[in-house]
């Protein structure tokens, strides 16, 4: 077999390998060197990670198993430092030497760092890889003020991420307009206004000349002499091809490694692809053209006669929530161009198409980019526009009609160059029914993900009557299985599965003992379905629920006893004080949930403390009812119309310990002044003259959301009945780890109201709820009683070393 070596384990390179595996399977013995310590991941999504929409695990494109399955030898965390083009051999920084017959250089690029004094200080970074991203996330946890240099795509995405991480952010830009290479001044202004409204601060037309600080950065100085403070500086002013290895070994380089139309460098059997390659004096920094290059190169290396690469026109989007923009081609008028424009300042929509000789040569769209794929096709295909309407009229056509009218060669996934025709064909010939499958077979949606809604539409249109919305959106519980939540629940019921292990066995989990995502979820669903018959699998719970205490950064725990409705007594306070003193508790704090927390407790002290406290667990760690906050209400307050404390206590006593998909918090106020903040609770109750208003789906956490009024009832027993039914419906239909706010948004408030309006349904839900509630026992007391539990979970064995020597 011929030996194929690749330097660089990034997006363009690994895509090329994927193409080679398709066109010439088993023709090569493949070795890949990657400087980063990871398998190939989706660099594009680093922006989404920073903005908090996804995590590192989810952006892996090719997991290590993929390399294994395809028998690719992968060396991660290892850089190639030398290519011996005579001997056809590469040498790594660890001294490893590997021979090649064909060599691909896919080393990407590095962030361009301004060559100014202070650029090497701690706290200055580019925005290129996981390491940079982690550094920013870490800085955000410790520091307050960030400055991003560069008001282009990358800079703005970084700035948005840092805002989401809670930092104050200044964006410094050299030019008078943001993204001036992609947007005209009007669009650029609209963008700036929107970003300012989101909290970004802009310092325009400023040239940074020095980074200030001792070891760590403290600020920046500009050419005009002014300065700003900064704890973190992100340079996002451009990228620079990573061409050093090639250059040092005699391969011809210019801005990048120069290649011809078949991605061949100046040295035989050595190719370059991706951001490190320069083709017809262009270096591309978006994946779409790089993937095209990959295809051409794959054909070349596999010995197939393929099309040459002739360069690409690229379209740009910005991945910032609340902003919809698209730009491609030329932006500025010259004497020979004519513009077609729509400018609706009121709705924040601006579109401009630049034409020359009846052809589209440039597109800028802001606020509404629905037509961007169509226009981009017309631009790339050089379609004559005379006699066609460029912008659609207001009267919207239905979505599926749009899909029907879309020509087969229209590009749907810009990143991967996938047309509608290719998607339809894959669906029809391979019997695909889910979005996941379409992505997998065609690559559509595998990069920035922006095209996924359109791919869904095409799936729906192609399958017609066979389309099943539920399956199409199907996402599996975790990487251990392809089973979705709905299927899991169905299967547990249909096959009568009764344990976590049995579920994983019967449903053929590919990882015998599951992971931290699926095991807690399965355990929850089993408990929900089998109500009082299920024996909880404590070892499938994560640490907090397993230990009945919340783990802290140093491995100690917190103890938060119940204080029903936030009401306590002098005797209980004394007891808490004594226990805190006796066990040397480092922190005694009033929590945000109207009770007292004891923080920094050693695990081996937990059972002892619980015993002395002799109070039930407050479950401050559980996916269950946390607290019911109350206001003082009619018993004391001059405005109070209802006994809020009594209702709060009744609710907390009834629903405590109940397993729920995510934590549930409640608040009870006795009048609309709402001193218990019932409007941001999962369920909130507000007393009014002659009754109670029940609010649902509030959230005071990450995605702040005011609650919606579910209904108004007259008596306290009606409150209990409605709450029981609502909670049970949530338990039965929510995904594990879905807060009520997200759940209601997914199902629709109206739907939930309709379900709960029916008396019989409510009755049945409450019966299942009551049956479930019977099974719970107080966990702290259980631990005190059981030596087995104590030994397994709470003992720290101390052993004197040196007992036996050999």
């Amino acid at each position: 077999m011929k030996k194929l070596v690749m330097i660089g384990n990034g997006m363009a390179g690994v895509r090329t390998i994927e193409e080679i595996l398709k066109t010439a399977p088993e023709q090569f013995d493949i070795t890949i060197f990657g400087q980063e310590p990871y398998p190939n991941y989706n660099r594009i999504k680093l922006s989404n990670i920073l903005q908090g929409d996804t995590n590192f695990e989810e952006i892996i494109i090719n997991p290590l198993e993929w390399y294994k399955e395809n028998q690719i030898q992968l060396f991660t965390g290892e850089a190639v430092v030398k290519i011996d083009v005579e001997a056809k051999r590469v040498i790594s920084d660890q001294g490893r030497e590997v021979d090649y017959d064909e060599l691909i250089i896919a080393t990407g690029s590095n962030s361009f760092i301004l060559p100014i004094p202070g650029a090497d200080k701690i706290g200055v970074t580019g925005f290129r890889d996981i390491k940079d991203c982690e550094m920013m996330i870490k800085s955000a946890a410790q520091y307050k003020k960030a400055v991003v240099i560069g008001g282009g795509l990358l800079g703005l995405e970084a700035a948005r991420g840092l805002l989401n991480l809670g930092m104050k952010v200044d964006v410094v830009h050299l030019m008078p307009n943001l993204m001036e290479r992609q947007l005209d001044p009007i669009a650029s202004h609209m963008l700036k206004n929107e970003l300012e409204a989101q909290g970004m601060n802009f310092l325009m037309e400023k040239e940074t000349v020095e980074i200030l600080g001792d070891e760590r950065v403290t600020g920046l100085r500009f050419k005009d002499g002014s300065e700003v403070d900064a704890d973190l500086v992100v340079m996002a002013i451009g990228i620079k091809s990573n061409k050093e290895v090639a250059k040092n070994c005699g391969i011809y380089v210019n801005r990048g490694i120069v290649v011809n139309d078949f991605m061949e460098t100046s040295v035989p059997h050595v190719y370059a692809v991706g951001e490190c390659a320069e083709h017809r004096e262009m270096v591309y920094g978006l994946v779409a053209p790089l993937y095209e290059q990959g295809k051409v190169l794959a054909n070349r290396i596999s010995g197939l006669v393929g099309e040459p690469y002739q360069g690409s026109i690229t379209g740009t989007q910005l991945k910032v929530a609340g902003i919809d923009l698209f730009s491609a081609g030329e932006i500025f008028e010259d004497g020979s161009t004519k513009s077609i424009m729509v400018y609706n300042e009121y709705d924040g929509i601006y579109k401009r198409v630049l034409t020359r000789n009846n052809l589209i040569v440039g597109i800028v769209q802001y606020g509404d980019t629905k037509e961007s794929t169509k226009l981009f096709r017309m631009l790339t295909k050089k379609e004559d526009i005379s006699g066609t309407a460029i912008f659609q009229t207001e009267c919207g056509t239905g979505d599926s009609n749009d899909v029907a009218a879309m020509p087969n060669d229209e590009l749907v996934c810009g990143c991967n160059g996938i047309t509608k025709g290719a998607i339809v064909e894959a669906i029809q010939t391979q019997g695909l029914t889910t979005l996941d499958q379409v992505s997998h077979c065609t690559n559509a949606g595998r990069s920035c993900g922006r095209c996924k809604p359109m791919v869904s539409q095409i799936l729906k249109y192609t399958l017609g009557d066979q389309f099943d919305a539920a399956t199409a959106q199907k996402t599996s519980i975790c990487g251990c299985t392809t089973v979705s939540r709905e299927e899991l629940v169905e299967e547990i019921k249909a096959k009568g599965l009764t344990s976590v292990k049995e579920v994983m066995n019967v449903l053929e989990w590919n990882n015998e003992e599951g992971c931290t995502k699926c095991r807690p979820a399965i355990n929850y669903y089993l408990g929900m379905i089998h109500m009082d018959e299920y024996k909880d699998d404590r070892d499938s719970r994560l640490v907090n629920e397993k230990m009945h205490a919340n783990i802290q950064k140093d491995g100690t725990y917190s103890v938060v006893p119940r204080m029903y409705g936030g009401i306590t007594t002098a005797a209980d306070l004394k007891k808490i004080a004594e226990v805190a003193e006796k066990f040397n508790v480092p922190l005694v704090k009033l929590t945000g949930g109207q009770r007292i927390g004891l923080f920094g407790v050693k695990k081996e002290d937990l059972p002892g403390m619980w015993e002395e406290l002799d109070m039930p667990s407050g479950y401050a760690y559980g996916k269950t009812l946390r607290t019911v906050k109350t206001c003082v209400g009619a018993q004391f307050c001059r405005y109070g119309t209802q006994d809020s404390m009594a209702l709060g206590i009744e609710l907390e006593k009834k629903f405590e310990r109940l397993d729920t998909p995510h934590k549930v918090k409640m608040g009870v106020s006795a009048c609309p002044r709402n001193c218990s903040e019932a409007g941001i609770k999962d369920i909130g109750f507000v007393g009014i003259d002659g009754g109670w208003e029940i609010y649902v789906a509030g959230n005071g956490g990450v995605d702040l959301r005011p609650a919606d009024l579910l209904c108004t009832v007259k008596t306290q027993s009606e409150v209990m009945e409605m709450t029981g039914a609502y909670m049970q419906y949530y338990r039965e239909t929510a995904n594990y780890l879905e807060r009520t706010s997200k759940w209601v948004e997914r199902l629709g408030l109206k739907h939930v109201q309709e379900v709960l309006a029916d008396h019989e349904t409510r009755k049945a839900l409450n019966e299942r709820m009551d049956k479930t509630l019977k099974k719970y026992i107080e966990p702290w007391n259980e631990a005190i009683q059981s030596e087995e539990i104590q030994d397994k979970y709470y003992v720290k064995h101390t052993i004197m070393a040196g007992s036996e020597t050999k």
């Binding site: 310590p37 990871y38 398998p39 991941y41 590192f56 695990e57 952006i59 892996i60 997991p63 290590l64 991660t76 965390g77 996981i130 870490k138 990882n511 015998e512 003992e513 599951g514 992971c515 931290t516 095991r519 070892d539 499938s540 994560l542 640490v543 397993k546 230990m547 783990i551 950064k553 140093d554 491995g555 695990k603 030994d791 397994k792 979970y793 003992v795 720290k796 064995h797 101390t798 052993i799 004197m800 070393a801 040196g802 007992s803 036996e804 020597t805 050999k806």
Partner: protein
């Protein structure tokens, strides 16, 4: 060079429950001991290599891996390697079992 190996008895094999982690303090070291479903026993330093640390003994055990309970890193019990996309390695200790006694070799 003569190397002294110390074998320290730390537990009775039959007392260990599968898929549970035990924390053992020895001198200045804290060791996490795990028995997995196939009966094998592993010993690692009881600390995740994540910059913010975290103990391992309370983590969820799946096959030959433990998940760090604080930041959910997946760590091999066999060689202590942190699985991608995270990176790092935990010190592992050799375990020997003789007549129901579990020894850690230092």
């Amino acid at each position: 060079m003569i190397k002294t190996l110390t074998r320290i008895p730390v537990a009775n094999y039959s007392n260990l429950k599968a898929r549970a982690g035990y924390s053992i303090k020895m001198d200045d070291k804290e060791i996490a001991l795990f028995k997995i479903s196939n009966g094998n026993v592993y010993a690692l330093e009881n600390r995740s290599p994540h910059p913010k640390g975290g103990v391992l003994s309370e983590g969820l055990v799946s096959g030959e891996f433990v998940y760090c309970p604080v930041f959910d890193w997946k760590i091999s019990l066999i060689d202590g390697k942190v699985q991608a996309p995270d990176d790092g390695q935990v010190t592992t200790f050799q375990v020997e079992i003789h007549e129901d006694i579990v020894f850690i070799v230092l």
